[in-house]
């Protein structure tokens, strides 16, 4: 017998501020292999055309559909209903600006973070179209890729206690982004330059070590290791800067 499922969905449209945020119940019959992607589209097409949510790839690749499923940040597209109870609550990710119902503005948040951390290769080298590519050890390439796998879904941010209290905190995604460039021999920034960017309370030292990010990352990036790596490097860089600073003044 197919189950009857209830979805308790957060509703709010910033265009209509007089209508208070609320939870609205929707019911539908479970189908085999059903995901929240299927559920939400079905609800919009058959029950409530105004329901707002975001999907793009529906294959856990693009990071569009982060939301709280029964309180836990995850990707809706890869959440199978067979793993859910009869009543499921869907809420938008916190921290990010709410655009309506389950849709939040992760894109703008991540762009600002990328600008703050200057998340691009810093080099004075000019590309020579006639030259062979610079060599790189494949192990290094794989290490960079491991950090680059972040899909900017925001699950680590939405589930982070610090990010929820401190809006300026770059969070695990931001620290991981910095780690990606630190690992890259093509990026010529020194530790002191990175310290300028992330050696602060809004950067890597803001983390209080609760590690929900590591549990919640839907693509399994080892965020705990990345945080430790950047923190260690930045602590050393900070120590050196502090020792050099009085000497410079003297």
């Amino acid at each position: 017998m197919a189950r009857e499922l209830t979805f308790r969905i957060f509703r709010f449209n910033p265009d209509q501020p007089d209508v208070k945020p609320r939870l609205q119940d929707y019911r539908l019959t479970e189908e085999p292999g059903m995901t929240l992607f299927v559920v939400l589209n079905k609800l919009r097409e058959e029950q409530d055309p105004s329901l707002r949510f975001d999907f793009v790839c529906r294959a856990a690749i693009c990071g569009s559909c982060g939301m709280l499923v029964n309180g836990r940040p995850t990707l809706a597209c890869k959440t199978l209903t067979k793993d859910l109870p009869a009543v499921t609550t869907l809420m938008p990710l916190p921290v990010f600006k709410l655009l309506g119902d389950l849709s939040v503005d992760t894109g703008v948040w991540f762009r600002e973070m990328s600008l703050r951390t200057e998340a691009w290769i810093h080099t004075d080298q000019v590309f020579d179209p006639n030259a062979e590519e610079e060599r790189m050890d494949n192990a290094v390439a794989l290490q960079i890729y491991e950090a680059e796998r972040c899909i900017e879904c925001g699950c680590c941010i939405g589930g982070c206690a610090t990010a929820n209290i401190k809006p300026e905190f770059i969070g695990a995604a931001g620290v991981n982004r910095v780690a990606r460039f630190m690992l890259d021999p093509r990026d010529k920034r020194s530790d002191a330059e990175y310290f300028e960017v992330v050696g602060t309370e809004e950067g890597v030292f803001g983390c209080v070590g609760l590690m929900a990010c590591d549990d919640n990352c839907p693509v399994g990036i080892p965020l705990r290791d990345q945080l430790a790596y950047v923190r260690r490097k930045m602590a050393a860089a900070g120590w050196k800067l502090r020792r050099r600073a009085p000497a410079a003044r003297a």
Binding site: S64, V108, R135, Y145, E148
Partner: protein, 617 residues
């Protein structure tokens, strides 16, 4: 109308995937003011989902030794079944190696050559120690050499993230969550676009010296597609709706051999390229029976047809979602799967609850790519309208003809971005800013009125349901304009789509359509989507031959005498169906011949019969 925001820029790029961003970078580097529009945050564009790789003849890998642009050219032309423009293919293959290296310079962590021992299809591969650390390549279908450069399992992702990092670095303006709904033009020249904000629903005009369509493909016109939900061909519809810009070869639709059943998410060609097999219900590896030379790695059109042919012969595995075949990668080993094919393992786990290290993967050919699109010249300039460009999947450049090789689409985005981007920069500098305010406000007013008409009739009973109409369109294309095509069903598809197009004039919203309402967005988009569907169906009906992905069971042979030409679909203002014209294909180097695989190859057919019983697997 004066309350609408109007923004002015030098170059307006519609679409922030790889093609759009690469072109924007080129224009920005030339000192121009560039604005990129995107339905979604740029890094969520569908380019990010390309797992496989990017073809460029670097020749670093042992199995790619001796590769050159010449060999890449031949593979591409054969792959296209001689449907491509050969001057474009030549330009492309010569530029691809530089484009790959440039992406390395900007930060892509390409997988590199190592001395790690590897067994492939029973053979040990020994890499050249002198090449260690250079960009590696994997095998893909329809290629004579291993040529597809990749980053583990996430090539599109790393390319797009790197490309977008350059966009950030250069400070190029990006407006995300907006949708272009109309080009501003006077029938001869393009001046920008009318755009709907998907945050607020407000209309704006972007006025530009040059406008660039880089909005990707139309996969979602088909019900079952590997594509992201945003791939609705909206940029192609914008061009078609000018009445003067044609779409090229819309009937050339690629079906990827391995969409996973039943979510139709793509399982990359890298799975077969790295040595995966296709098995039938008896667990027999059937591809060598049909294609003794290329086996699982014939071109996509051929492998897809062979699978369907085998299923029709009764060898498919039955399932509630229809018959399928198996993809087997178990013999590649856990280490390889968890590194180079990790994305596949994740998809199998997430959506089917299986582990490809131990389990077989259910797959069936699924709509994947549109070779057709806005017809442009070699510089990316759209036919029929000044100051309008197109590139990437949205365009018909025409690099792919009637079948695109795996690894050639990522390559096209980056290579065309570089080449067309430079042409855009040149053209923009030659064009003086010319803001035709009456024209801008006229277009804004018309779009505004279209929205108001939908809102005024909203919620009232009767009329057509946008989602129901859409599903009808998806079904017509999937059932009648699929892998195997014949006259009867194609005629029926055209009739039904014309009827659907008429009914779409009477869409009635069930919600109120306020602000950025998603149902309103769907209603604005659907008529254009149906027009694209009609271009596909009518193009397929008229083309009385088989070429590449376009396979007519009633005309099973390629016909170079009558059909060595490209379809151009125009939609004159007020017409109820497209008008088809044709132009010759540019043959500059390689005259039409045998592909060396597929039904048209006499070699494959005879060798297939001889080898069928002797295959040891």
């Amino acid at each position: 109308m004066r309350d609408h925001e109007v923004l002015v820029t030098d170059v307006l790029v519609i679409g922030a995937g790889l093609a759009g961003e690469r072109a924007a970078i080129e224009a920005a580097l030339a000192g121009l003011n560039v604005t990129i529009l995107s339905l979604v945050p740029p890094r969520r564009s569908h380019s990010s989902a390309a797992q496989g790789g990017m073809q460029a003849s670097l020749g670093n890998t042992a199995m790619g030794k001796g590769d050159s642009p010449d060999i890449h050219f031949v593979d591409t032309v054969k792959g296209s079944d001689w449907g491509c423009d050969q001057d474009v293919a030549r330009l492309f293959v010569e530029t691809a190696p530089v484009a790959v290296r440039e992406m390395a310079h900007w930060g892509v962590p390409w997988t590199r050559v190592t001395l790690e021992k590897r067994v492939y299809d029973g053979k040990v591969i020994e890499e050249d120690p002198a090449k260690v650390g250079l960009i590696a390549a994997r095998n893909f279908g329809g290629t004579a050499k291993w040529r597809t450069c990749y980053t583990a399992d996430g090539t599109g992702h790393t390319l797009l993230y790197t490309m977008d990092s350059v966009v950030l670095k250069l400070g190029v303006t990006v407006h995300d969550r907006v949708e272009a709904i109309r080009l501003i033009h006077d029938g001869e020249q393009c001046f920008g676009a009318v755009v709907r904000c998907l945050r607020t629903g407000a209309l704006r005009a972007y006025v530009a010296r040059t406008t660039v369509i880089a909005s990707g493909g139309y996969g979602r016109l088909y019900g079952a597609s590997t594509n992201a939900v945003i791939n609705e061909g909206s940029g192609m519809a914008l061009a078609l709706d000018t009445g003067v810009v044609p779409l090229g070869n819309m009937e050339a639709v690629q079906f990827h051999p391995t969409g996973i059943v039943p979510s139709w998410i793509l399982i990359t060609e890298g799975a077969r390229g790295d040595g995966g097999y296709l098995l039938d219900k008896n667990l027999h590896r059937f591809m060598p029976d049909y294609e003794p030379v290329k086996k699982e790695l014939a071109s996509r059109d051929v492998v897809s047809r062979r699978i369907m042919q085998h299923i029709r012969a009764g060898y498919g595995v039955d399932s509630p979602y229809g018959p399928h075949v198996w993809l087997d990668i178990r013999h590649l080993g856990e280490r390889h799967i968890r590194t180079n094919l990790r994305e596949i393992a994740a998809i199998c786990q997430n959506f089917n609850g299986i582990d490809p290290v131990h389990d077989l993967i259910p797959v069936r050919p699924t709509q994947h790519y549109s070779m057709g699109g806005v017809r442009t010249n070699i510089h990316g300039q759209a036919y029929g309208m000044y100051n309008l460009f197109a590139l990437g999947e949205a365009a018909c450049w025409d690099l792919h003809g009637f079948n695109r090789l795996g690894g050639n689409s990522l390559a096209e985005t980056v290579v065309a971005g570089k080449i067309v981007g430079a042409a855009i920069a040149r053209q923009t500098k030659e064009t003086s800013p010319d803001v035709r305010w009456p024209l801008v406000y006229e277009h804004l007013a018309e779009e505004s009125a279209r929205i108001e008409r939908l809102r005024a009739r909203a919620v009232r009973p009767g009329g057509e349901n946008v989602y129901a109409l859409r599903h009808e369109m998806e079904q017509i294309l999937s059932e009648n304009v699929g892998i195997f095509r014949t006259e009867g069903p194609l005629v029926e598809a055209c009739d039904k789509l014309r009827e659907l197009h008429r009914r779409a004039q009477d869409i009635r919203l069930r919600g109120e359509g306020r602000g950025a309402d998603p149902e309103l967005g769907a209603a604005l988009r659907l008529p254009g989507m149906i027009r694209l569907a009609l271009c596909i169906a009518k193009g397929a009906l008229e083309r009385k031959e088989s070429r590449g992905s376009h396979y007519r069971e009633d005309y099973p042979k390629r016909d170079d005498v009558n059909w060595l030409k490209r379809t151009l679909a125009y939609w004159p203002a007020g017409a109820d169906e497209p008008e088809l014209r044709y132009e010759p294909v540019k043959i500059t180097e390689l005259p039409p011949g045998d592909r060396g695989y597929g039904e048209s190859s006499s070699f494959a057919a005879t060798a297939g019969r001889q080898d069928a019983g002797a295959n040891p697997s």
